[in-house]
């Protein structure tokens, strides 16, 4: 391996560069969080994207014979209360071609929990670092249910991510596959540093619905409800409510691990690059059963944070806005936005439930 000699001056220069990168990242993250807090969370009483959702509660049990390295938080057989929230991003219309999500907290409280994890459909994301996320946001330019036209023209990886993530007319939130995409820290009992990705599948092997295969870029941008589609704005939430009431909803939480090494390619952290399942198999972490759904108010109040994690399972450090880990860094620094939204509910009241009217293809209450 070639080594390069670095003078003291160069070392200082490099160190200064790294510190500058971190400062810029912090400024980025804080500025972003502040903007969201002021102009979205507080002013409009909305989340940044996943407003259209339904929450539920139940119990989660760590599997009895874990096949992944031992971790005190995931102690075998241990039970946790669990609250989840399914949502469709970003529109207030279940019948649109949307990304669907599940967010899990190991608690029945709407805010506090020892472990939160947020996942979306699709194994890959639509953006890969802080700077690309901001570009993604700035290029949304939504109109009448059509968005990201220029973004998808320019970023083919965004196209790939979108193709894998959107689900049109799924039969249920329950039969979809959800991925955390970005890796987190996993420091087990053995003290070996690992990186972890999570996913959620239905407990029983059910066919995933809503997956589209024939796309053009224009179709991807057009997320509108299909003409003559009889499904209502809340059909998925209603279906989930009925399903849970009748039989409950059972899921499995899985983990995929990568052992850290000094010469890891940065692409390991890239949420657009899948870890090979042959060398990085998925293992069951826990099974959980949702026994009841929550009303609109409780669902809306329920909130999640990557900061709600044990230190040994937390967010990986990021070095710059180009670092793939900077996405979780942004999430971790957006607490102010969560708090601003809670405050807005107190000040302005709760946003109303989504009505079953014909105001379709919209992403805001005011539209």
């Amino acid at each position: 391996m070639n080594t390069k000699k670095v003078s003291l001056l160069q070392a200082i220069w490099i160190w200064l560069g790294e510190q500058t990168d971190k400062i810029i990242l912090w400024i980025y993250a804080m500025f972003f969080a502040l903007m969201i807090a002021v102009f979205v969370s507080f002013k409009t009483r909305q989340r940044m994207s996943h407003n259209n959702g339904i929450a539920g509660e139940g119990w989660l049990k760590i599997v009895d014979a874990p096949e992944f390295p031992e971790h005190p938080f995931f102690e075998k057989g241990k039970q946790y209360p669990v609250r989840i929230r399914h949502a469709s991003a970003t529109y207030l219309d279940d019948a649109m071609n949307c990304i669907r999500s599940i967010s899990i907290k190991f608690s029945h409280h709407h805010w506090h929990s020892p472990f939160d994890i947020e996942m979306n459909t699709g194994a890959q994301s639509l953006f890969w670092n802080a700077v690309s996320f901001l570009k993604f946001g700035s290029m949304r330019k939504e109109q009448y249910g059509i968005e990201y036209v220029e973004y998808l023209r320019r970023y083919p990886d965004g196209v790939d991510g979108t193709k894998g993530a959107v689900r049109r007319d799924p039969t249920s939130f329950h039969n979809l596959h959800y991925y955390s995409k970005t890796p987190f820290l996993f420091l087990g009992t053995d003290g070996i540093k690992r990186y972890a990705k999570y996913r959620v599948l239905p407990l029983e092997n059910e066919e995933q619905t809503g997956v589209e295969h024939r796309f053009s870029e224009f179709d991807l941008c057009n997320q509108r409800v299909l003409p003559f589609d009889p499904r209502g704005r809340n059909y998925l939430k209603y279906e989930y409510e009925d399903r849970v009431k009748k039989q409950g909803a059972k899921y499995r939480l899985q983990i995929q691990l990568h052992t850290a090494s000094d010469d890891d390619d940065p692409e390991v952290f890239n949420n657009m690059v899948l870890w090979d399942e042959r060398s990085h198999p998925w293992h069951d972490v826990a099974h959980f059963h949702i026994e009841k759904t929550l009303d609109w108010k409780q669902s809306t109040m329920t909130t999640f944070s990557v900061n709600n994690m044990p230190k040994t399972l937390g967010v990986l450090p990021a070095k710059s806005i180009y670092d793939y880990n900077s996405l979780n860094y942004l999430r971790a620094h957006s607490e102010i936005a969560r708090k601003a939204r809670m405050l807005s509910y107190k000040v302005f009241g709760m946003v109303p439930p989504i009505p079953d009217n014909d105001n379709r293809n919209v992403s805001g209450w005011g539209e």
Binding site: R154, Y155, P266, M272
Partner: protein, 721 residues
């Protein structure tokens, strides 16, 4: 010399009338504004001293501008170092042709580069590469280098090959930026950034003609290629005096026709070979001996088809108007000349058969007249008709179609496809500028002079060229077979062909692996050649609709042209859109590994053929034009019917059948102009673009060529004007 022999006179006159280029350099000498402003009438010649000064100042401005560009290039160089340690991002996209029929046709192997510019204006190369077989590119670069705070802008650039030159005997490819797209730095976020489909106007085929021609939107500033400055300088020096002479004649003809005569026009132009010989040996250039000598070894390099019954007799045929659109002013009957070979190996005419209209009154196209030396004066008239028709056929069929148009189809296919293959270095030096020359010829000759000075209309010319191009194929092409020791033209042709084959073999031996590696370029070259080729001669006519005479003529033409152009009728050809394409495919395999062994041989043959057509075959006619077409009464592009019953069977003294004064000065201007290119020779290698090996091989055989009357230093490296 008290008793000059014809040979000594010819040699003396050849030397005397040989065209030399020497720069005059006088400041106030009239200048041609641009080669692209040449006109059949009055070209844009600058006479006025004030205008000359302004034009001089403009040239100085251009020099200053060029110097400034060079200074900027020196101050802000484009280093070859690529600023990338760990490529984590990519610029992607694809490059297609921009013309409406080829919007989905990819352009392969184009050089693409991604550059950043620092705040202190220095350039940093961030990535480089090539478009792939499908026109797609993916330039891997390091995001942090592109988004370095020092970089204030980034741009994507596409380069096309403009020309090839040799440095220390090694070929170099000159690239020119043909497309620039600014990429906002803020849009670079990692992963891939898509520049989408870039449509470029590169070496497109014209849509307005079935002949494979290059689309040239504006020859001055929107053309796939431009003339080299050295060529323009040489041409300006040569042509300006001729232009002034022509302008004077045209003015006299318009303002005071009584002050000018054909003899005066003739004497105002430099003396040509026939005038010179005629002055020293009166009557010799109209003799049978000279006729046979020039038919065999002159500009026409006639094709001697053996007589079917008597194999010691030969036929040279010049087909006339045939079924092409023609006017009623000029005659162009079909002429068939029967020759016997003399003991000295030179041919002597024994019969001349003239089929077709020879006067303005009897319009029967199938009327036939046979002349022999026993016909006295009429034999002289028939020979003149044969010379004139021979000149027309040579210029239109052999010169313009056989070399200019034929070479252009190889040029456009080569420039569209050879980028990384060494074949670019082999072919480009010989294929350059032909598209420009042909573009000028469209206006000057096909639209201008020829329809006004010969029997065919512009439509007729287009049709004739289109059909005759249907006999030009590289497959199994061979040079003319010498009939005798005196057939120096054929011997020299064969010698040059053998030399070219040898050169191509050596080039392939040196570059074989790279040629194989970039075989896709050969495949696409072949595809372009075949798909855009014209159909095989008369392959799409409805024979059932032809009269017996027309059938006979068509069969005669097929037989003669097949022999003349060494056309292999048995070669396997492709049918595209219902047309049997004349150009044989070189390969049908995308990779060398998949191709049969003969494909490599095909490739060598087609390269040698293209070089042969672009250099020697064109040079022969081009350089001899002034010898055989530099005396109006001796030969011209056409004879007028006149107003007498005898029509064109009349003596030279009957000026009513020879070209009128305007056409005469234009013809002499043309033949001078076309023969006086004097730039772009293989051995002189003025632009350093000819492979030194080729020059050396030619010079090594200088004496052998000289014995056959060929000066190797006068063989053009490309199809000149």
């Amino acid at each position: 010399m008290e008793n000059p022999t014809p040979e000594s006179v010819c040699e003396e006159c050849l030397k005397k009338t040989k065209i030399h280029y020497r720069e005059d350099g006088r400041f106030f000498m009239p200048r041609l504004l641009s080669i692209n402003h040449l006109q059949l009438g009055n070209s844009k010649i600058l006479h006025n001293p004030l205008v000359l000064i302004v034009e001089w100042l403009y040239r100085q401005y251009k020099h200053l501008r060029d110097a400034w560009k060079r200074f900027i290039a020196w101050l802000f160089p484009r280093p070859t170092k690529v600023w990338c340690h760990h490529a984590d991002s990519a610029l992607v996209g694809q490059i297609h042709y921009a013309d409406r029929d080829n919007l989905n046709t990819p352009i392969h192997n184009l050089r693409v580069e991604f550059w950043g510019r620092t705040r202190w204006l220095q350039w940093r190369k961030l990535a480089d590469g090539y478009s792939d077989d499908e026109g797609k590119f993916s330039l891997q670069f390091e995001l942090r280098e592109a988004r370095n705070w020092k970089i204030y802008k980034t741009q994507f650039e596409v380069y096309q090959t403009t020309h090839v030159y040799f440095e220390s005997e090694k070929p170099k490819v000159a690239l020119e930026c043909c497309y620039v797209e600014q990429v906002p730095v803020s849009n670079l976020t990692g992963m891939r950034y898509n520049l989408r489909t870039i449509h470029l106007h590169l070496w497109e085929y014209r849509r307005d003609t079935p002949v494979p021609r290059t689309e040239i939107k504006n020859v001055d500033n929107d053309s796939p290629q431009y003339y080299a400055q050295g060529r323009l300088d040489a041409l300006f020096e040569q042509i300006t005096p001729l232009e002034v002479t022509k302008a004077k004649h045209l003015l006299q003809i318009e303002q005071a026709p009584e002050t000018i005569s054909l003899a005066q026009i003739q004497s105002d132009y430099p003396e040509n070979l026939t005038v010179c010989i005629e002055r020293k040996l009166p009557g010799y250039t109209r003799s049978d001996e000279w006729f046979g000598r020039r038919m065999m070894n002159g500009m026409n390099r006639g094709t001697f088809l053996p007589d079917k019954e008597n194999h010691n007799m030969f036929w040279v045929k010049y087909f006339g108007v045939c079924n092409y659109e023609h006017n009623d002013e000029y005659a162009l009957p079909t002429v068939e000349i029967k020759f016997a070979l003399k003991e000295n190996g030179l041919p002597t005419p024994t019969e001349i058969h003239i089929t077709g209209q020879t006067n303005a009154f009897d319009k029967n196209p199938w009327q036939k007249k046979v002349f022999t030396p026993a016909n006295g004066e009429e034999w002289l008239y028939a020979k003149r008709i044969a010379r004139v028709n021979g000149a027309f056929s040579t210029e239109v069929d052999e010169h313009f179609t056989g070399t200019h148009l034929n070479t252009e189809q190889y040029a456009i296919a080569a420039y569209r496809n050879f980028r990384r293959s060494p074949l670019a270095c082999l072919l480009f030096p010989h294929l350059k500028e032909v598209a420009l020359v042909n573009h000028s010829a469209d206006t000057l000759l096909i639209h201008g002079y020829i329809p006004s000075a010969t029997a065919l209309t512009e439509n007729g010319l287009h049709q004739r060229c289109y059909e005759l191009l249907g006999m030009q194929d590289w497959k199994n092409w061979k040079p003319m077979k010498p009939l005798s020791e005196a057939h120096t033209c054929a011997k020299a042709e064969k010698m040059f062909w053998d030399l070219t084959i040898d050169y191509v073999e050596k080039f392939f031996a040196e570059n074989l692996e790279e040629i194989k590696h970039h075989w896709i370029e050969v495949y696409r070259f072949s595809q372009d050649l075949v798909n855009h080729a014209v159909p095989v001669f008369l392959s799409s006519i409805d024979w059932g609709k032809l009269s017996p005479e027309e059938k006979q003529l068509a069969n005669d033409r097929i037989e003669y042209y097949t022999y003349q152009y060494s056309f292999d009728t048995s070669a396997k050809r492709e049918t595209v859109n219902g047309e049997l394409k004349v150009v044989s495919p070189i390969t049908t395999s995308r990779t060398f590994e998949e191709s049969p062994p003969e494909d490599m041989q095909n490739l060598k043959h087609v390269c040698a053929y293209a070089i042969m057509m672009a250099t020697y075959m064109h040079t022969w006619i081009n350089e001899h034009q002034y010898d055989d077409l530099g005396e109006v009464l001796y030969s011209s592009g056409g004879l007028r019917y006149g107003n007498k019953e005898r029509g064109i069977l009349a003596p030279e003294s009957d000026l009513s059948i020879s070209p009128d004064l305007t056409r005469s000065t234009q013809m002499l201007w043309f033949t001078n102009f076309l023969s006086r290119t004097e730039y772009g020779f293989i051995t002189k290698n003025e632009e350093g673009d000819v492979n030194p090996l080729f020059s050396k091989m030619l010079l090594d055989r200088k004496e052998e060529f000289a014995k056959l009357g060929v000066d190797v230093n006068a063989i053009e490296s490309r199809t000149n004007i």
